[in-house]
Symmetry: C2
Subunit: 469 residues, 2 copies
């Protein structure tokens, strides 16, 4: 039997992850500890995520802008909780332009403070509200235990920042981003089911009054936070004086929100869908959806392959030709599987003699012979089905690894292999602290019907408990 | 007569620039000296530039990737000329994660060194070549005399980095980017004519063997370098050991190139096309191509305006409605002119009674009455014409402010108000040093027919001489 290309998931999941990131040519470690190089194949997936999410954010009315990388150290110390949340993670520039700086500057760990400063300038009157901003940028949070995509000292993200006239409007917007933008994007593009909930006080963002989170289950049963949307109350508005003149002529403080998703989602995508053969990239994200492979040279094979490629491209399928006959076919298949290319169209002289090709499916699995004239149509249909299949498999896996618990002990036991849902009233902040001692956390609070509780103390609130990345 | 909204260009051009950047809401100064905040309107223009240029770069075969912000200080010192070129501009992180770092890290001023390190890993065999990479990123070069978009301590750019088997292939690619990608993009999207040439040894990029530049003339007669494409010879390949196994089985060093354009192009766009009333944004870039303005309330005006808006959008025109009747119409017009919106469709009860609207053109100038049913068609045509008109005007301005000189003195005199072309053999490195004393530089070397000389010493090489931003 052939040596497996990757460490099997059940043998050592973190090792499998490391292997697949390297062998599918997604990313490398950067020379400075904790930084990463996103390689062209990984970046092409990220670009497609970014383009789609950007469109959804614009549809939600936010406008993109760009704020500086460098923030005066004094800005961060203005909001006490915020600085406490970030100070151990900051990278500080002390020298620039050949001299020591009078005031050190911090490399942004997030832009709440600098954006707060400018929101204060831009919100003069009620007619300026809501002010809806978004930024695509790199941020830096120094990591002692870095892991590519999941926790890197520098990562790429989008951060939305909005100011509203009322608490209600801010809440409505944070919820809209949480549910209609992020969760929908994750379902429709990443083929990932996510649990929507609110964070407990312990897990909340530094400076937020409420953090809405999206939690996904990885193949090893652990949770990954895929994104967050925060209500910041008037905390930042007070500190940065983000205020406006109301219709009645009164000076009023704004209510602000912030929300973000990052290259961490790439880590989630890998760990949610990947298997022992490599990645499985959802068709809508895949840089190459179908690889047309010349198995072996022979009468008219290359020409026929080019025709199939043209047919696929004409239907809008992202297709590429692989005619590298100097590389063994088996190795090319292993590589295509590693990279998670959804469909392989394998074409050799023997098939062609019978007027057919072999369509191999990475996601649904299996191979079938398809008549040459029907290949493009078959591929198109398979890509649609594969998205649904991938989502359904992830949901089934999550359901199979989530149990209902009634006690703290049961929840802790379930968290060894997956998640538990348990009444929050049974756990409470003390139970949460106890669980934390064995690295089990309350991922979020949710309602039995999947909706987000308006408050921790609502009747029937469930805690989703598990280990997390 | 009304007070002008902006300082007139002829009175004080730098002040006009500063005014228009602020009043058209393009950008603000950031809190850390030399940094900038790109506001939503400015960023929307940048995004359109970026999307179009990205497509052209991909068509040229390059693939996007992302490399770290932080570079070990030791990387920069490996290539002697390169570090000399950048060391006074570096920002250095000395503290991170709450501790002093063992080795300080530099915030990338450009990524040649770190990308060189990875190219060395990725180019094993001749079949890996050419390796064509591009990155969209922020870079930092500490500026003592910052000016928004033109010279900021942090700016956004794309940097391409490629490795080739032969010098000839590297040269061909650097030239392809220079001429077919950059110059064509500038003509087709920015409506800007550029002179293509090579830099003199004095003006060359640190570490390059040849720098190809694109120079545009601003409305005050000064030059702005809009982009560069460098042949790096084997300088970086030697230092980072970017080598490959040839078909003959020999280890060979690669030949590398790098090429970049940045948010500086936004400054060029403003100063090339703007006038005393504000920006003039080329139609293909304009976030809003046509503004449908309700002049005054009245019988059916708003409904008619919404219909015109729908017609425009249906034809693919980026159109918006301005029905802010609580703001005086005159102020709304001034604002639309400041922002350089190409077309205003002004609709009031009086026009409508006659079945027509007023189409006002920011670029070509003038107003005309257009029948309601023909508005969308008229706007569409005007947008096409306006692109050509803007390009033609910029070219005419450049021609009018460029004179042929035969001596150093004549060239220096011409540089007071524009450019001079003068035989390079007349100037030479010594003449260049002399001119530099009065801040006049050789912008580039070009041939009389507009082609790029293969070497400084070719017969007939002309120096384009002028002052520059």
């Amino acid at each position: 039997m052939a040596q497996p290309v990757l460490t099997p998931q059940t043998e050592d999941f973190p090792r499998w992850y490391q292997d697949v990131v390297a062998k599918a040519e997604l990313a490398d470690n950067g020379p400075v500890r904790g930084t990463m190089v996103i390689r062209p194949y990984g970046y092409a997936i990220w670009e497609r995520m970014q383009a789609d999410l950007d469109r959804r954010i614009k549809d939600a009315g936010a406008r993109n802008a760009y704020f500086p990388l460098f923030i005066p150290e004094s800005y961060l110390t203005r909001e006490a909780e915020h600085v406490e949340g970030f100070s151990p993670e900051l990278a500080v520039v002390t020298h620039a332009g050949g001299k020591e700086l009078e005031e050190p500057v911090v490399v942004r760990p997030t832009s709440e403070t600098v954006i707060g400063e400018f929101m204060a300038k831009w919100t003069q009157s009620y007619s300026d509200l809501p002010l809806l901003l978004n930024q695509w940028a790199n941020v830096v949070r120094w990591e002692l235990r870095p892991r590519i995509f999941l926790r890197t000292s520098e990562f790429l993200w989008q951060e939305g920042h909005t100011a509203h006239a009322t608490e209600e409007d801010a809440r409505r917007y944070a919820t809209h981003i949480h549910k209609d933008v992020y969760a929908t994007f994750m379902r429709e593009m990443l083929a990932m089911p996510v649990v929507l909930g609110r964070k407990t006080a312990r897990e909340r963002f530094a400076g937020a009054t409420n953090t809405l989170a999206l939690e996904a289950m990885m193949r090893d049963g652990k949770a990954l936070q895929m994104g967050t949307s925060h209500e910041l109350g008037q905390n930042f508005a007070k500190v940065f004086d983000i205020s406006y003149l109301s219709e009645q002529g009164n000076h009023e403080l704004c209510w602000t929100t912030s929300w973000g998703t990052s290259t961490r989602m790439l880590g989630g995508l890998i760990m949610c869908h990947g298997d022992d053969d490599g990645l499985r990239v959802p068709p809508r994200l895949a840089p190459v959806q179908a690889l047309v492979m010349v198995v072996k040279d022979g009468e008219g094979v290359l020409q026929a392959a080019q025709q199939v490629l043209a047919d696929l491209v004409a239907r809008g399928v992202r297709a590429e030709l692989d005619a590298r006959l100097d590389t063994p076919f088996g190795r090319r298949v292993v590589d295509a599987e590693l990279k998670g290319i959804p469909i392989r169209v394998e074409m050799g002289p023997r098939d062609l003699a019978e007027g057919s090709v072999t369509v191999a499916r990475r996601i649904a699995g299996g191979k079938s012979a398809v008549q040459l004239a029907r290949v493009a149509e078959a591929v198109e249909g398979a890509l649609v089905d594969d998205h649904e299949a991938l989502y359904a498999a992830a949901l089934a896996h999550r359901d199979a690894h989530t149990s209902e618990a009634t006690t703290l002990e049961e929840a802790a036991e379930a968290a060894r292999t997956g998640w538990a849902t348990v009444p929050w009233s049974t756990i409470g902040p003390e139970g949460e602290a106890l669980l934390a001692e064995s690295a089990v956390t309350v991922r979020c609070l949710t309602m039995p019907d999947g909706s987000v509780p308006a408050s921790e103390s609502d009747d029937g609130v469930l805690a989703v408990v598990g280990r997390a990345y």
